[in-house]
């Protein structure tokens, strides 16, 4: 799965302007956020090169960032890899994310599906699984279970005595 292609599609659908910086890098921007996405085969490559990629981006866009005012605080450096060779890498990627210097970093590996890429990009996206809970009328389901006559009686009768009488008369 080409990670960059997936990432581009996701960001464009989210309203970002996305453009390729080079074969392994996308740059993106909307009214609030901006940054770049670097794709890798292995997580270990992220550990080795993320600083260089971040510096390269900041250098290249220095004038734009300087002129962007407060928006320059909203830069994301996104490093995505398809797999890991070592379990230790996961911890190293976490350490990268916890480093808040210069840019906010997203460093994720083991991205094998479009869903994985989308999840990695969650900080840039609106809530993806918004749900309007279905409003099925549960009374219909209950009516079907207990029978029309008795259900109507329970639903409408205020008097306990009369309701008890209905239960007594219903087989």
């Amino acid at each position: 799965m080409p990670i960059l292609d997936e990432a581009r599609g996701i960001l464009e659908r989210a309203g970002y302007l996305v453009f390729s910086a080079d074969a392994t890098t996308l740059e993106f921007e909307d009214d609030t956020l901006m940054g770049f996405i670097a794709a890798y085969q292995f997580g270990e490559e992220i550990v080795r090169s993320w600083r260089d990629r971040q510096s390269s981006f900041l250098r290249k866009n220095a004038p734009a960032l300087r002129s962007s005012g407060l928006k320059s605080w909203n830069v994301y450096s996104v490093f995505l890899a398809a797999s890991n060779n070592y379990t230790e890498t996961k911890r190293e990627l976490l350490a990268i994310e916890e480093d808040f210097q210069s840019t906010r970093k997203i460093a994720q590996s083991n991205l094998v599906s479009a869903t994985d890429v989308s999840r990695a990009l969650f900080p840039l996206l609106s809530i993806q699984n918004l749900v309007e809970l279905r409003q099925e009328d549960p009374t219909e389901r209950l009516r079907a279970r207990v029978g029309e006559k008795i259900f109507n009686a329970v639903q409408t009768m205020e008097s306990t005595e009369e309701l008890a009488q209905i239960f007594l008369e219903t087989k």
Binding site: D31, T32, A64, L163, L168
Partner: protein
């Protein structure tokens, strides 16, 4: 729908009017502790519900939150009012206000939610799911039990539509339970009555089976074969007669036996007479012996008296002899009589005196002994005589008493119609026959009554058995109705549970996404919810391999989990038109990394079209929020700085957040 503005005067810490214009996109409220950030949330909740849920149950020294809703410091506010302005998606505005002085306006409140979908008490539910406070997050992260969590979800997302039905079913179930108990009691009572009647009937049948020829018996007893008019009186009188006859028979038999014992011809009486004769004879002999002893005693007494008369002379002789011995012969002359006497003769005279004195003493001693013996013998004989006389008297008394009793017995026997020589059996036999007749008549009469009783009991038993059939039918009917009502209740609970299961399944991806975004734990990126229980429902969370995060997460991690849950519930409400999320200081106890995640989640919620209002103490974090929350035009984002001044209360300074440069990289 959005919150447009808030105006408070005199509410909580606001001595002077405080007005906040909310940004359509977001409002970040900042300020130190006590600056009034929470007052904004309190005012929103108060206008909608009239109370503050977080204090609702708190009381101290008899005071409640109602006593502290309004300014209590020095000075007095111009008014006491809290007012909210809402804007619908079409731009229409409406105002809700509430105050203690009748300034309450709630017109338009129904625009906030869909009444056909909303849960019971929609406004408190709206506040519970729209205003997320620090303490709410804490409660959901650590304190809330699984059932409370379930109830919260059940009510908040508007599923429970059965409240009224449940209430009615509870009452009906109780009524039918009581009815079953009542019918069971009635059935048991009738059943016991049937058993008692059956037993009585069985006994009456046994009694009735022993009926003899009653008419003949009655004729023999009363002279008439007709049954007595007063059966009870007849039975009583007959019983009395039987008792009387039995007593008379006893009396006759006892008297007869006594007479036989006292008859002079009876060996015991003859023996008594012979004993009397013997005692008379013995007494006469004893009397003669006593008299003889008296004579001997008199004789010895006289002899003794005579010897005592001689004793003076003997005494004088003894003195003379003593003097003679002491003086001795005086010149051949007796010193006692002066006669001239020889030595030998003198000595012989003295010896003669001695012999006479000794003989007297021996005779006197013998008489005294004989007299004492005779006296003792006399007393002995006298005592024996007295004993014999007493025994005789006793025997005589017995004999006289027997004669008297015999005479009385004979008189009594005569009273019973017996004369001497009559056999008492001839008197007793008719009485015995009468008793037997009466007893047979009574028994027969009772048997006759038992026949009527059998018939009566059979009729009663038939009636009671009919009643028993009816009672059984009614009991079955009530039990069946109770069972139906219980089954209805169970079906209701099952349907409720099914729907909650389905809704939570719908909610699950959202909850998972929020959990993943907040990333409370680096190891366990996924979360599952678990529901169990048919009657009491439990909702719990697990991470990893069925691990309960409550026991492995730190407090900050638990808060992040609680927050993801609360946000999921907030975002999934379909019944609520107000699209405003209000958070009061949600970042406490959260590290920078997770605070960043929270900011990004709020940014994502904002990107989803929600209005976000967030109170934050940390100014840097407030600035970060202002930068990250998306807005498209000036005025859509507002930053509110809250302050508290002594004597003035809280104040708010609202500043529009300037939109960021739309394109930086692209223009470059």
């Amino acid at each position: 729908m959005r919150l447009r503005s808030l105006y408070i005067d005199g509410f909580r810490g606001a001595l002077s009017p405080v007005e906040v214009e909310f940004g359509d996109a977001f409002t970040v409220i900042t300020g130190r502790n006590g600056a009034g950030k929470s007052t904004i949330c309190d005012a929103i909740e108060y206008v909608l519900t009239g109370t503050l849920e977080r204090f609702r149950l708190d009381t101290e020294k008899g005071e409640y939150i109602d006593d502290y809703l309004w300014w209590r410091g020095p000075g007095s506010p111009q008014r006491r009012i809290a007012r909210l302005t809402f804007a619908t998606d079409s731009g229409e505005e409406f105002i809700l206000s509430r105050g203690p002085d009748g300034d309450t306006t709630q017109r338009g409140v129904e625009k906030l939610y869909d009444p056909t979908k909303a849960p019971e008490s929609p406004l408190p539910r709206l506040c519970q799911t729209s205003i997320i406070r620090d303490e709410t997050i804490t409660r959901f992260s650590t304190d809330l039990s699984e059932t409370e969590r379930f109830d919260f979800v059940n009510r908040a997302i508007g599923i429970s539509r059965f409240d009224k039905i449940e209430e009615r079913l509870t009452l009906v179930n109780k009524r039918l339970r009581d009815l079953v108990a009542l019918r069971k009691t009635e059935y048991d009572r009738v059943r016991e009555e049937a058993a008692r009647l059956t037993s009585e009937l069985s006994q009456a049948r046994i009694t009735a089976s022993s009926t003899a020829n009653l008419q003949e018996l009655l004729k023999a007893v009363t002279g008439s074969p007709e049954a007595p008019t007063d059966v009870r009186e007849f039975l009583r009188a007959s019983q009395l007669e039987i008792t009387r006859n039995r007593a008379e028979i006893d009396d006759i038999e006892r008297s007869s036996a006594t007479l036989r014992q006292l008859d002079p011809a009876h060996p015991s009486q003859a023996e008594l007479k012979r004993q009397l004769e013997l005692q008379t004879s013995e007494m006469s002999e004893a009397e003669v012996a006593v008299k003889s002893a008296e004579l001997e005693l008199s004789r010895l007494a006289a002899a003794l008296d005579s010897e005592r008369l001689r004793s003076a002379r003997i005494e004088a002789l003894a003195q003379l002899r003593e003097q003679g011995i002491r003086a001795g012969l005086q010149d051949g002359h007796c010193p006692l009589c002066g006669l001239h006497i020889g030595e030998g003769e003198y000595k012989a005279h003295l010896e003669e005196l001695e012999r006479e004195i000794r003989g007297f003493n021996d005779s006197l001693t013998s008489l005294v002994t004989q007299h004492a013996d005779a006296k003792a013998k006399h007393q002995q004989l006298r005592s024996k005589f007295e004993q014999l006389r007493a025994a005789y008297q006793q025997t005589l008394s017995r004999s006289e008493a027997a004669e008297k009793a015999y005479a009385a017995g004979r008189a009594k026997i005569r009273d019973f119609g017996l004369t001497s020589g009559t056999n008492i059996a001839t008197v007793i036999a008719p009485k015995r026959q009468r008793i037997e007749l009466l007893e047979k008549t009574i028994s027969s009469l009772r048997s006759s009554l038992a026949l009527a009783r059998v018939s009566d009991l059979e009729r009663q038993l038939s009636t009671v058995q009919d009643k028993l059939r009816i009672a059984d039918f009614e009991l079955s009917r009530a039990s069946s109705a109770e069972s139906s009502a219980r089954e209805f209740d169970a079906a209701l609970k099952r349907v409720s549970a099914e729907i909650v299961d389905e809704r939570l399944a719908d909610l699950s991806p959202l909850l998972s996404e929020l959990y993943l975004r907040l990333r409370p734990h680096s190891e366990w990126a996924e979360i599952q919810y678990l529901m169990r229980g048919d009657v009491r429902r439990f909702l719990s969370f697990t991470v990893g391999s069925d691990i309960n995060p409550r026991f492995v997460f730190s407090s900050g991690q638990r808060r992040a989990l609680g927050l993801s849950f609360l946000l999921a519930v907030h975002l999934s409400r379909s019944w609520c038109y107000l699209k405003t999320l209000i958070l009061d200081d949600p970042v406490q106890h959260i590290d920078d990394y997770r605070a960043m995640h929270l900011v990004e989640v709020l940014s994502s919620i904002r990107r989803s079209g929600r209005q976000v209002i967030c109170g934050i103490e940390d100014p840097a974090l407030a600035d970060l929020l202002c930068r990250r929350l998306k807005m498209e035009a000036s005025g859509e984002g507002v930053k509110v700085e809250m302050r508290f001044s002594l004597g003035k209360g809280i104040s708010a300074e609202c500043t529009d957040v300037v939109p960021l440069v739309a394109r930086a990289l692209v223009s470059a």
